[in-house]
Amino acid sequence: MSESVKFHFDVNGQSFTSAGQASVAVKKSLRELGISPEVIRRVSIAMYEGEINMVIHAHGGEADVEVYEDKIVIILNDHGPGIKDVELAMKEGYSTAPDNIRSLGFGAGMGLPNMKRYTDDMKIETELGVGTKITMTVNF
C-alpha cells in the first residue's frame, strides 16, 4: 500500500439515530482491508465516542479516516461551541451533557478519556465559538 486509503463522513447532528453510522462503516471497511481486529476495535470505539460527542455538543460535524501502511489517522471536525477547559474535559467522569443524554446511557464523562485510551496519540485543537478539531492516531 503506497498511498493512504481515505474515508469521509458527514456526522448528522440532528438525532442519535444516525450516530454510529460512520464508525460502523469504518469498521466494515477496515475489516475488508484486512486490518487486525484489535486495531479495528480501538479505531471504531474512539471514532464512535467522537461521533457521539459531535451529536451531543456540536450539532454534528465531519469525520475523516486515513489508513496508512503503519497507522490509521482519524480527524474529527466540528463547528460547535468549542471546549472551555480541555484538561477538565479529559477528566474521567466530568461531563457537560444534559440529563436527556444521560438517560440514553451517555454523558458519563467517558468520551474523551476513552478516545485517548484507545488511540496512541490524540491532539485537540479547540476555539470557543468556532469549533473543535480532534486528530487521533492508532499505530499498527
Binding site: 454510529g20 460502523v24 464512535y48 446511557g105 451517555f106 485510551r117 484507545y118
Partner: protein
C-alpha cells in the same frame, strides 16, 4: 451455546435473531454505553436495561454475540428493525440482570 439455543431456554425469548448461529462464550453486564464499549468482548452476550437505538451501534462495534434486555424491558420504536438490518441479535428476559447473568453462566 448459540444465541438461538439460548432463545429457547425458558426465561429468554428472541426479539430478533438475524445471526442465530453466533456462539456465546461469556457475558458482560452494563448500562453505561461508553463503559460497555470499552470492556465487553467479542462473542460475549451483553445484558442491559438500555433499549434505545444506540445499543445497536455499541453491539456492532463490540461484536457481542447478542444483546439481552433484562428486567422485562422492551425495545424502543423501530430499534428492532435496525438491529435486524445490522445483523444484531436481541433477546429479552423478565429476569433482573443478576439473575439473567447467573442463569446464562450456568448454561454456557
Amino acid at each position: 451455546m448459540t444465541v438461538e439455543e439460548l432463545s429457547k431456554k425458558g426465561e429468554f425469548e428472541a426479539v430478533t435473531l438475524p445471526d442465530p448461529e453466533r456462539d456465546i462464550d461469556g457475558c458482560y453486564c452494563g448500562d453505561l454505553l461508553s463503559w460497555v464499549m470499552g470492556r465487553a468482548k467479542s462473542s460475549q452476550a451483553w445484558i442491559t436495561i438500555m433499549s434505545n437505538i444506540n445499543i445497536v451501534a455499541v453491539a456492532t462495534l463490540c461484536d457481542v454475540s447478542c444483546i439481552i434486555l433484562s428486567e422485562g424491558v422492551a425495545l424502543d420504536g423501530d430499534v428492532k428493525n435496525v438491529a435486524e438490518a445490522k445483523g444484531v441479535n436481541v433477546l429479552k428476559t423478565p429476569l433482573p440482570t443478576y439473575e439473567a447473568a447467573k442463569l446464562l453462566g450456568g448454561l454456557i
